[in-house]
């Protein structure tokens, strides 16, 4: 398949690589770029493990063409920690919101977009925001608590 150069911003720095035209963003990020934080759960848009942020919105990278991110800003969980762990990551640890951790990068992305838009979410807002992210292990409660706690901490700060 023909390869196309793709130039985009990944977690704040410009990156460029060749992508086959039919390649999805998940495979592109993981194999082409080497960012392993988005996870492959289903490859068909039903689990949310591959969630990334493109220009401020959550997207399922398994359903996004790699060539479609040309010139756009992509954020992944590996870009969250900036010298120290992100408050969301801190709260996930504090609340034991990960067991196997497979859903965690996607959860963090959905949570980040929520909190960027809505600094004072209700529990229902949080549930809505992560409703596309499946978790096998935690029963969701600790994840919801962690996201609400992050919002509270920010308001106090």
């Amino acid at each position: 398949m023909a390869k196309k150069p793709v130039t985009f911003i990944l977690n704040g720095s410009e990156r460029a690589a060749f992508a086959e035209e039919g390649l999805n963003l998940l495979e592109f990020l993981r194999r082409g770029i080497g960012d392993l934080s988005p996870k492959y759960g289903c490859g068909q848009g039903t689990c949310g493990a591959c969630t990334v942020i493109i220009d401020g919105e959550t997207h399922l990278s398994c359903l996004t063409m790699a060539v479609a991110i040309e010139g756009r800003k992509v954020e992944t969980a590996s870009g969250l920690a900036n010298g120290k762990v992100h408050p969301l990551q801190e709260a996930f640890m504090e609340h034991f919101a990960a067991q196997c951790g497979y859903c965690t990068p996607g959860m963090l992305m959905s949570a980040k977009v929520l909190l960027d838009r809505n600094p004072a979410p209700t529990r229902a807002d949080v549930i809505e925001a992560i409703s596309g992210n499946l978790c096998r292990c935690t029963g969701y409660e600790p994840i919801i608590d962690a996201i609400l706690a992050t919002a509270n901490m920010r308001r106090l700060a």
Binding site: A98, Q99, S131, L134
Partner: protein
Amino acid sequence: MAMHRGRGFASINYPIGMNLGGDPSQALVHSNPDGKFTVALSSIDLGQGMKSVTRQIAAETLGIPVADVYVDTADSDTGPHCMGSFASRGTHRVGNAVIQAAQEARAVMLEAAAEELEVDATDLVTDGRGNIHVKGATSRSITTMAACQAAQFKQGRTVSGRGIFLIPLSEVDPETGEMTPVSCFAHAAMLVEVEVDDETGEVSVLDMQSAYEVGRALNPRLVEQQLVGGAWMGMSHALWETTEPYYPDRSHGPVDFNNYLMPGPGDLAPHHISVLERPAPDGPFGGKGPGEMCANPVLPAVANAVYDAVGVRIDELPITPEKVLRGIRANGGARPKMRLTRTQFAGAR
């Protein structure tokens, strides 16, 4: 058409581990040149906390800080043998193996320290903060790091230990069918409240109250994490999850999330948990294993609650709206269990 509330109760005895081949697990412990310890296991941490708990157990037994222990579960080809992470056996079986291995390693560490301090090893104690000293004389001390380094570089000893935990296989008595497949049981009891819609057959779990008896909660936060997640999974299995067609149909097998119904974060029920601690005599520091038991009581409790709510007894999981509706129809309508008032109840007795 109406909504019906019902309550269901279930309690379980949950065997820790299994009987197959004695269900053994091994552990190897050794010190490194920096005085820290490695615990080698083939037991896999799936997120349940196996590494954390075995690390605590090793540190406690060796008498050193948790920070000085590294648990390596990287490779089941090169690590000591383990039956695996299942049957809620990890804490109990592997924990016991780790204790045995750590005791042996600790004994060598104390011998090495004794040689350096020119005292008898039986007079030495550890302070859990990285020091070994003479009982009652804290000034006559050596760090665990110095002791391990002396063993390695001066005395030519390996500060290491081997551990295995095995419960001899119990055979079935051909006459009576009797056997003792398990030495350790955990227990749980659960009360579930549901609401059943007699028009759609839908069941929602409104509330769960539980008590789990886990031996000793070696890491209370990890225990809580397992109970919360595991009970939710039990609810999910009670009401949603299954592969269609089901075993023994030959096309039974994994399907995708389009065909496998899994509830999301919108389908939760408040869960009030009491953790009861009754240390197990043969458990590592009394620990059993919450594991699968987290999910188990939820399924019968939900089935009982549905029966209580609409009088439909469902004995095949999951309890889908279709099964509930068929049951209601077969009964000629919802038949909530008659509840006696307090006086009626007293009169009936």
